[in-house]
């Protein structure tokens, strides 16, 4: 299985895109992964589920900020190429 750096970048972009399009209301709250359901995990025991939910939310926030257009342009270039 011969990887190139290019295919790694493609895979990374697709994965980040997949994480970023998980909708908060329609999907994550339905399966109990909404961030509003995670409060109360203060102290030194956040747990892996809370960390995951925070990670998803931060990826979504970053994507909606500056990286949104960057990723769109880059994915158009790579998918067509």
């Amino acid at each position: 299985m011969a990887f190139t750096l290019y295919s790694l970048i493609q895979a990374a972009i697709l994965c980040i895109n997949a994480v970023a399009v998980l909708h908060e209301e329609r999907f994550l709250s339905k399966i109990g992964w909404g961030v509003d359901q995670s409060v109360g995990g203060f102290g030194d025991e956040p747990g892996i589920k809370v960390q995951l939910m925070n990670l998803i939310r931060s990826v979504r926030t970053v994507m909606r900020g500056a990286c949104f257009f960057l990723l769109r342009i880059f994915s158009h270039l790579t998918v067509s190429g």
């Binding site: 990887f3 750096l5 790694l8 030194d44 025991e45 747990g47 960390q51």
Partner: protein
């Protein structure tokens, strides 16, 4: 830390990052040497030379500042502060870790000791050299089987690099998700992932010299040694939590999960070694 050889590596690293600018400097000096009388007589040339050298210095400072924004060169220098004795001992430990007694990384007033003074410290010199040697060896092995072409070399190099990046990212992600407050930085993880290249080189060499049987024997030997090495080294860093912010209890997350991370990293090594070398030895 005390970077006693900071003169040479410092200039080397800056010379590496700014090759164009440094080449302008010495050439100006060389022209100035034999023709120093002419230069002083010709104000235009001397003014141009001074302007050129000041421009070069500005460019060098700017590039250093930009590089320092992304990664701290001092921390990188720590990983390359090795000497011959350390490299030899480390290679022996990598191939035969069963007799090594003390796996603690020693500290000196809160900063970890350089690899020169502490054999257990991770370094980046051995992984870099082993990576380059592995690529050359892969080219040679393919040439012996008459399957060589220059593109294959690049493909092999980028495949191995991609696997390192994937492994380091997965390790970072799992360490973050399980809130393991260890002092493993990115460079440490790159170093520990790069140590498997030593095992790979040994395996490929044995496969080339002794045929298929030698390949499998060497694969088994280096896998066991590498797994032992990784488990013992990472156990010190991941498993005990000396975190001062917890309330005096043990680890923050369940210790089984941390053990799973260590064991999973160790088990991943022989798989990758087999994956990246089996096509070289038929």
């Amino acid at each position: 830390f005390d970077d006693t050889s900071s003169a040479a590596p410092g200039m080397n690293s800056q010379g590496f990052y700014t090759p164009a600018y440094n080449m302008a400097g010495p050439s100006n000096d060389m022209q100035g040497g034999p023709g120093v009388n002419n230069l002083f007589a010709d104000p235009m040339a001397s003014a141009a030379m001074m302007y050129g050298s000041s421009l070069a210095n500005q460019g060098k400072d700017m590039v250093n500042k930009e590089i320092n924004r992304f990664m701290s060169v001092n921390k990188l220098k720590y990983f390359f502060a090795v000497d011959t004795r350390y490299v030899l001992k480390k290679l022996m430990i990598l191939m035969f870790p069963y007799t090594h007694q003390d796996w603690e990384v020693r500290y000196h007033r809160d900063t970890p000791l350089t690899p020169r003074q502490d054999v257990n410290a991770p370094d980046l010199y051995i992984p870099t050299m082993a990576f380059i040697t592995y690529i050359l060896l892969a080219g040679m092995a393919l040439g012996i089987q008459k399957r060589f072409s220059p593109e294959v070399l690049g493909l092999c190099a980028s495949t191995a690099l991609v696997w390192i990046i994937i492994e380091v990212l997965v390790m970072l992600l799992s360490l973050y998700l399980l809130t393991v407050h260890s002092d493993l930085s990115t460079f440490d993880l790159i170093a520990y992932s790069g140590y498997k290249y030593v095992g790979m080189i040994f395996t490929v060499l044995c496969g080339l010299m002794f045929g298929s049987d030698g390949y499998y024997v060497a694969l088994a030997w280096s896998s066991c040694a590498l797994m032992f090495f990784i488990v013992r080294s990472l156990k010190m860093k991941i498993l005990p939590s000396i975190s001062s912010d917890s309330m005096g209890m043990g680890s923050n997350s369940k210790p089984q999960l941390r053990l799973y991370i260590t064991v999973a990293t160790a088990v991943f090594q022989p798989i990758i070694i087999y994956w990246l070398t089996s096509h070289l030895v038929r």
